[in-house]
């Protein structure tokens, strides 16, 4: 009886083993990640059969102007906001001019002094002139010595010169005032040309530096945009002027627009890397090509957005 149970038990166990193993094999394949398939957002289809790919950035046409300040200083007033249209010479912001205003005050005082000086000199001259006139009016030549008369004459001449000097002093003060006014005027930064304010990096109370890396404002033309495409120097030989190109907005591959060739920048520059480390060594240089595009009517495009660019270019001739 016991041996019978054992005998059938082993057979049942064996059959169960085969069945469970099949189940286990299926379970483990179910547990494996599925390979293949498209990415969650399908990248843009290539517009050309043979093309060079590049990454580009949207810029305002005729490049963005990084507005600089004439000298580093405290910003006291910012007159424009982002997106404002500005005309040429429209004031954009004002820097702290109190030191010059103080100078203006002392200059004003100086002018007062100069004016007083002129009055004194004029009075002096009038006194000396009247004295000379009195001596001249004496007809008896024995009453006044020739020496005395000559002295009086010289005194009048000296006094006249003093008056002229005092007037010159006033004129100098006035010129200095004009200079100070000009310097104060310089502290109001004006738009160098018509355009739109794309970025404002300073607020009243902040310190504006003259470093070209951190412009206080960026002025550009946002009605028409251009794309600056970076091409790896290894692909640069495939690029010719006038090749057709398409741009795809990074982040939304459904937004595509044709690009119009403007020019190839003749100077190959080191690639600006995303890591931003200051000690970075350069190992790639990129050729830059400029394309223009008309702002599509219903598409929001912004200056500074990254663009994937495909340029129609034949494959490099390969040795067989």
């Amino acid at each position: 009886m016991f041996s019978k149970i054992l005998r059938y038990g082993t057979i049942v166990a064996a059959i169960a083993g085969i069945y469970l193993m099949v189940q286990a094999l299926q379970a483990q394949t179910k547990n494996q990640p599925v390979l293949g398939g498209d990415p969650p957002v399908m990248p843009p289809a290539k517009p050309f059969k043979q093309s060079v790919a590049a990454t580009g950035i949207l810029e305002a046409l005729s490049e963005n102007v990084a507005i600089g300040v004439p000298l580093p200083g405290l910003v006291t007033e910012v007159m424009v906001k982002v997106n404002d249209r500005v005309k040429k010479d429209q004031p954009l912001m004002k820097l702290d001019d109190r030191d010059l205003l103080a100078e203006q005050l002392s200059n004003k005082a100086q002018q007062e002094i100069s004016r007083a000086q002129i009055t004194v000199s004029e009075a002096q001259l009038a006194k000396l002139e009247s004295q000379l006139q009195r001596l001249n009016s004496i007809t008896d030549s024995r009453a006044v010595s020739r020496d005395e008369l000559e002295n009086r004459r010289q005194d009048v001449a000296v006094s006249q010169a003093q008056l002229a000097a005092a007037k010159a002093q006033l004129a100098a003060s006035e010129t200095a005032m004009e200079r100070i006014n000009l310097l104060i005027e310089r502290l109001t930064v004006r738009a160098p040309r018509e355009g739109t304010i794309i970025q404002v990096n300073v607020r009243a109370g902040e310190y504006a530096a003259t470093s070209p890396k951190s412009p206080a404002m960026i002025l550009g033309e946002t009605e028409r945009l251009q794309v600056r495409a970076d091409i790896d120097e290894q692909n640069a030989t495939r690029i010719r002027a006038g090749q057709a190109a398409f741009g795809y907005l990074k982040g939304d591959p459904t937004i595509t627009f044709p690009l119009k060739f403007i020019r190839i920048e003749p100077y190959v520059i080191p690639k600006v890397s995303l890591t931003g480390s200051s000690t970075e060594r350069v190992d790639t240089r990129v050729l830059q090509i400029i394309y223009s595009l008309d702002r599509p009517k219903d598409l929001p495009l912004y200056v500074g957005q990254q663009v994937d660019v495909f340029i129609e270019a034949p494959d490099r001739h390969r040795k067989q």
Partner: protein
């Protein structure tokens, strides 16, 4: 004849159990060791399974997927410029340290994928949304990380929890299914740009370019074209296969086979299993034949041919082989289920049970042949002498 053979076999319960046990033991040892070996080898290619991409383009010096020799950022555009390539996206891949809220450090496999297309994103999310990866300071973790990165075992990490990667905040927005990595760290996905911020800065940071071929172009043709045009090494990402030298899975597995002692360790155990199986089953079966020599001799004396007697022995040994193998499968299946449950390295390619079955049957036939030799030397007349 079959009935007689089976009656003879089952008649001696102790010997029968001993035979079945020997075969069971050998089967279980060999199957389980081979499956753990395959599981471990599969873990070495987990990046290829978790980062979903048909083609991997890497530096020519890279010989397996866990190695990274960084490339330049513009190499993405160079791969994209190849005509046969449908798309090409950057990939960052590296081991980083994570600081938990109790101050402990754990290692993770940080994977940075393209933020626009999310190419290389995990295939299945159990929680959260893939698109949330575009929010600032966000990551997607895998199911292993849920407990691995939690400081309190009772509170697994959920969507919305935070930890630190190299002192930078990381907020969990999704939990993905993934395969465990060989290094033991969980997979953490983020965007390529953010991965560069998390990782300490290096001169070059791009680990690989992942790409897909144009429709109608085979993976191999596209990979060959990429290699020709860019001078980089392009691997296809298919499953392991012995005749695919350009497959990254195969290359990686062979790298581990060649450069680690893992196959020696598992191979030795498999050989021990075979030897134990052969020793136990041959010895027991031979003893079984000796015990039943009288009956077999009587049958022989009654005029049964040597061939029919041999077939009886073969039937007996094959029956033992099948039952022992079946019980071995039962144990292995139990092991498989618990391994799937616990995430242990365990993978059983379908071919292995069949191969082991053939090996076990060969052992049984060998044991039967020993019995057959003994039986053919036996004189039927000897039955009457005792």
């Amino acid at each position: 004849m079959i009935g007689l053979a089976l009656k003879m076999l089952f008649g001696d319960t102790a010997k029968y159990l001993m035979l079945v046990f020997g075969i069971f033991f050998a089967t279980f040892l060999i199957l389980q060791q081979l499956a753990i070996f395959c599981g471990l080898m599969l873990w070495t290619t987990s990046t290829l399974k978790n980062v979903n991409a048909p083609i991997y383009v890497v530096d020519p010096q890279v010989s397996q997927v866990n190695e990274t020799t960084p490339m330049r950022d513009t190499d993405v555009a160079r791969v994209r410029s190849v005509s046969n390539v449908r798309w090409a996206m950057p990939l960052f891949n590296g081991i980083q340290r994570v600081k938990l809220d109790n101050g402990a450090f754990k290692i993770i496999q940080l994977t940075g994928i393209d933020s626009a297309s999310l190419a290389g994103a995990p295939a299945t999310l159990v929680a959260g949304k893939l698109e949330d990866l575009r929010l600032p300071n966000t990551v997607i973790i895998d199911e292993l990380a849920v407990n691995f990165l939690s400081s309190d075992p009772d509170k697994p990490i959920k969507v919305g929890d935070r930890f630190e990667i190299n002192d930078i905040e990381a907020r969990v927005v999704g939990i993905a299914e993934s395969m465990r990595s060989f290094t033991g760290g969980p997979y953490v996905w983020t965007t390529y740009e953010r991965a560069l911020q998390y990782a300490p800065p290096q001169r070059k940071m791009l680990s690989a370019v992942i790409a897909a071929p144009m429709p109608g172009v085979t993976l191999e043709a596209a990979a060959a074209e990429i290699e020709k045009q860019t001078g980089l090494r392009a691997y296809v990402n298919r499953d392991f296969s012995f005749d695919a030298p350009d497959d990254f899975n195969t290359k990686t597995v062979f790298w581990f086979v060649k450069n680690t002692s893992i196959p020696i360790s598992f191979g030795t155990t498999v050989i021990v299993g075979l030897i134990v199986g052969i020793a136990i089953s041959c010895q027991t079966f031979y003893a079984f034949v000796l015990d039943n020599l009288k009956h077999l001799g009587a049958l022989k004396a009654m005029g049964m041919s040597n061939f029919r007697l041999s077939m009886m022995l073969v039937i007996q040994s094959v029956t033992v082989g099948i039952i022992g193998f079946g019980i071995g499968l039962l144990a292995t299946a139990g092991f498989t289920f618990s391994a799937i449950e616990n995430g242990a390295p365990f993978f059983m390619p379908t071919i292995i049970p069949f191969a082991v079955f053939a090996a076990i049957q060969l052992i049984c036939l060998f044991a039967a042949s020993l019995g057959i030799i003994r039986l053919s030397l036996y004189e039927p007349a000897a039955v009457f002498r005792t």
